[in-house]
Amino acid sequence: MEYVVEMRNIRKEFPGVVANDNISLTLKKGEIHALLGENGAGKSTLMSILFGMYQPDSGSIYVRGKEVKISNPNVANELGIGMVHQHFKLVENFTVTQNIILGLEPKKGLHIDIESAAKRIEDLSKKYGLNVDPYAKIENISVGMQQRVEIIKTLYRNADILIFDEPTAVLTPMEIEELMEIMRNLVKEGKSIILITHKLKEIKAVADRCTVIRRGKTIGTVNVDEVSEEKLAEMMVGRHVSFKVEKEESKPGKTILKMENVSVRNKKKVLGLKNFDLEIRGGEIVGIAGVDGNGQTEIVEAITGLTKVEEGHIYLNDEDITHIPISERIKKGVAHIPEDRQKRGLVLDYTIGENMVLETYYKEPFSKRGLLNKKAILEYAEKIIENFDVRSGEGAHSKARGLSGGNQQKAIIGREIELNPDLLIAVQPTRGLDVGSIEYIHKRLVEHRDKGKAVLLISLELDEVLQLSDRIVVVNNGERVGELIAAETNENEVGLMMAGIGKEEKA
C-alpha cells in the first residue's frame, strides 16, 4: 500500500526538550488521520516539520513515495500540502477573495483579476459545500466562516494533503458539526487529511485511523473503529482517565459574591449585561451557561474590575466592591483565570517564574522595600510548577512564550489557585486542553470548592458546566434567563434556555 505521506523516525530537539523522539506517521490517500496527544506531546512540532516550518534533526519524509526535503512552507505548498492553522492568518479588512489570492494574485495586464479568482473560489466553495461568499470582508464573518476561508486557501493552492491544527478549538458546537461534514466531503473528493486534536469525541466521529503520541514518542497507530474513547484516552495520557467529575454534594456556606441589578456596557457601548443578579456561596461552584457573547465576558469583567459597572452593586463578603480598583479586588480575594491566556493571563516575554508573581510581586517575601527577591520568587514558582505539572524546558526560567498552550494554562491556574481566593472565577479553564489536564483541573476546582470557597465557572462547553457546577445560571442576550440545579437538569433543558426559551416559565 502506497502512502501519500510517510514520516519516518522524525526527531526534533529544542533546548531542554526532545519534542519529537523518533516519531513515525503514515497517511493513506483519502483518509482522515487523527494525530492525538496531550498538550506539549509534540503534535504541533511534528506537523510544523511536515509543513516546512521546522527542520527535523534526523529522520526522513516521503510524499507520494518520494523522499523530500521540506525546507520551507513554499516547498510544502508545491508538494500539495496545505495547513489550516489554529490561529487564522487572515487580513481582517480584506475580502475573502483578497485573502485567498494573497501571494499568488492572478494578473490581467497590470491589475489583479479578482473576478476570475472569485469565480474559482465560488466553484471550490460549492464543490466542497463550504458556502463562502467570496466578496465578504473577513471582519464581518464568523470565526467558523473564517476557518473555511483558510480551508479554501489551501484548496486554491491545489493542496490535496490538508493538515488541520486543532480546528475545533475556536468553534461552537454547531460549527463543529458543519466542519466535520466539510471534512467528510473533502476526503470523498480524494483529499487526505491529518487532524491534530485531543478531543476524543471528534476522532470517533470523523477519523479513520489515529496515531497517538505521548511526550514526544509514538505510542501507536490504531483503527478508530476498533478502539473505545477510554482506550484512546489511556493511550494518550498513559493511565486510566475518568471522564466523570468526582465530587461530593456541595455544602453551601455564607454568601461570598452577590451581584445586584448589575448592568454593564460592552465594547460597542451598548448594554451587554442587563440588570443581572447572581449569588455565589462558599463551597459551591456556580456555572454560567450561554452561547458565546451573551454577557459572560461582561459578568467577569464587572466582578474583576476590568470594566466599569453602569448600574447596580457587587458585594464580596458583604463589602461593596463595585467601584474599587482591580488590585484591591485581588487583595480582597478575587482570583481570575482569564479567557484569553496569552492576552490577559501571561506576560509572554517574562519567565514563568516572573509570571507566577504577577499579582503578588509587591508583597513579602517576593519583594521587600521595593526590591525583588528573585530567590523567593523562583522557589514559589517551582512549587507551582511541581504542584500543577507545568512542563517546560527550563522550569521557572523558561520564557512563558515557549510553553505549549496547555502548560501556559496550567501555570495560570496554578498561580490563581495558589492565591487561595475566596472567589475563583474560571473562564474556559480547560479550553484547548487534553483529557488528562482537564481531569486534573476539574479536580483542583472541586478541591477549591471543598475548602469552602466560591467558584464561578464560565464555559462554552455545556458538558463541563453540567458536570462541574452545583448550580447553573443561564444567560441569553445579557439577561439572566433562569437558574437550575445541575444534578436535576440535562443538556436539553439547558440548551433550550440558552436559546432564550423558558424565560417566562422560570421567572
Binding site: P325, S327, P338, L346, L348, Y350, L358, Y361, L371, L372
Partner: protein
C-alpha cells in the same frame, strides 16, 4: 550574551562598510581607521574627550532605552535635553549658593525639566491614547522655540545674541581633578554622573518592583491591567523618568561639556540616543558602552579628516550603517544560528565518517 555578539557584529559590519566607502573614495581604509581610532584613543586627553563626548549620549541612550522597556518610543530626547539644559542654566546663572549645593540643584532642575517635557506626552497617551512618537516630536519643537525665546530674552550673552551668558566655572560640572587626570581634556563630572545613573537605571530595571511593573506594562499591558497594575500611571512614570534622563543629558552638555546654550540648534545627541539604545540592546550597560563607542567615532573624526582626505561624514555614515545592522539584528541572529548549525553539521559529518572508517 547573544545580544552582545549581535551588537559587536553590527559594529564590525559598520566598520567594514566604512572601509569600503573609504576605499571607493580613493583613500586607504587602514590609514583612515588608524587615524579615526587614534583621534579618539591615542593620548590620554583624547580618551578623556571621547568619554566627554559620550557623556550626553549615555543619558539620551538610557532615556530611550528606559522608555522602550516600558513599550514606548521616546523621540522627545532633543527637546527634553534642551529644557533640562535650560533649567540647569537658569539656576546656574541666577542662584548664588555654595558650589556642591548649586550643582545638586542644577542636576535636579535639569532632571525635572526633562521630566516635565515628557510628562505632557505621557499624560496625553494615558488620557487620550495619543501616540507618544507624535507628541514627543512636537514637544521637541516647543522646546526649541522656548529656548529660542527664553535665552535671548532673559539670559543673553555678553557678546552674542544667539548665546546664553557663560556659566561661571563654579556653576558647571567641570572638574579640575578629572581634567588634570586626563591631561587637560574637557572631561567633567558629567561622566561620573553618567556612570552612577547607568548603575541606578540598571538596578531599577532589574532588581526593583518598579522595574518589574514597568516592564510588565511594556510587554503586555492587558496582562498588567489584569494583574491590578495601574497601566496609565506606569506609562506616565516611565516617560517621566525617561524625560528626566534626557534632561540630565542637557545638564551634562550645556553645563559640563559646554558652558553656554546656543539658540536655534536641536542637539544631535538627542536622536543619537535612539541609535545608542538600539546598539546597546536597551540594556543600561549596553547603552553605556555603545555611547562610548559612538563618542570615540565622533571624537576621532576631526583627527581623521585633518590627517587624510577622508571626508568627516564617513564617521556618520559608519554610525548609520551600524544602526542599520543593529536595527535588523534578527538577520544577524539568523546568520549566527546558521553558522552554528553549519558547524554542528560538519561535526556530525566528521563523527559519521570516523565511525565509517572503523
Amino acid at each position: 550574551m547573544r545580544r552582545v555578539i549581535v551588537s559587536l557584529i553590527a559594529v564590525l559590519f559598520g566598520i567594514i562598510a566604512g572601509a569600503i566607502l573609504m576605499a571607493v573614495t580613493g583613500n586607504s581604509p587602514i590609514e583612515g581607521f588608524s587615524y579615526l581610532f587614534q583621534g579618539g584613543l591615542k593620548t590620554i586627553d583624547r580618551i578623556g574627550n571621547t568619554l566627554a563626548t559620550a557623556t550626553p549620549l549615555i543619558f539620551t541612550g538610557l532615556s530611550v532605552a528606559f522608555a522602550f522597556r516600558t513599550g514606548m518610543f521616546n523621540i522627545g530626547t532633543p527637546g527634553q535635553m534642551l529644557i533640562g539644559g535650560l533649567f540647569a542654566t537658569a539656576i546656574g546663572l541666577t542662584v548664588d549658593i555654595a558650589k556642591p549645593l548649586l550643582l545638586l540643584l542644577m542636576i535636579v532642575a535639569g532632571f525635572v525639566g526633562g521630566a516635565l517635557w515628557a510628562f505632557i506626552p505621557g499624560l496625553l497617551k494615558a488620557k487620550f491614547n495619543v501616540h507618544e512618537v507624535v507628541s514627543t516630536i512636537m514637544m521637541n519643537w516647543v522646546a526649541y522655540w522656548t529656548v529660542y525665546y527664553v535665552v535671548p530674552g532673559y539670559f543673553k550673552g555678553e557678546y552674542l545674541e544667539t548665546e546664553s551668558k557663560k556659566l561661571p566655572a563654579d556653576s558647571t560640572l567641570r572638574s579640575e581633578f578629572l581634567s588634570d587626570l586626563f591631561n587637560g581634556s574637557y572631561i567633567n563630572n558629567g561622566f561620573i554622573l553618567a556612570i552612577i545613573t547607568t548603575i541606578i537605571i540598571a538596578f531599577i530595571i532589574n532588581k526593583t518592583t518598579l522595574g518589574y511593573q514597568l516592564k510588565a506594562v511594556g510587554f503586555n499591558k492587558h496582562a498588567a491591567e489584569y494583574a491590578g497594575m495601574k497601566v496609565n500611571r506606569n506609562i506616565i512614570l516611565s516617560l517621566l523618568i525617561a524625560g528626566g534622563l534626557s534632561g540630565l543629558a542637557g545638564v551634562a552638555q550645556y553645563a559640563g561639556n559646554a558652558d553656554v546654550m546656543q539658540i536655534g540648534i536641536m542637539p544631535s545627541q538627542g536622536f543619537d540616543g535612539i541609535a545608542v539604545a538600539l546598539l546597546g540592546a536597551n540594556a543600561p550597560f549596553g547603552v553605556f558602552f555603545a555611547a562610548i563607542f559612538f563618542g570615540m567615532l565622533y571624537a576621532g573624526t576631526g583627527f581623521m579628516s585633518a590627517m587624510t582626505d577622508i571626508p568627516p561624514e564617513i564617521a556618520n555614515t559608519i554610525i548609520a550603517i551600524i544602526i542599520y545592522f543593529a536595527a535588523t539584528s534578527i538577520l544577524i541572529e539568523r546568520m549566527i544560528n546558521w553558522f552554528i548549525r553549519g558547524k554542528k553539521r560538519k561535526k556530525e559529518k566528521l563523527a559519521g565518517s570516523k565511525e565509517g572508517e572503523q
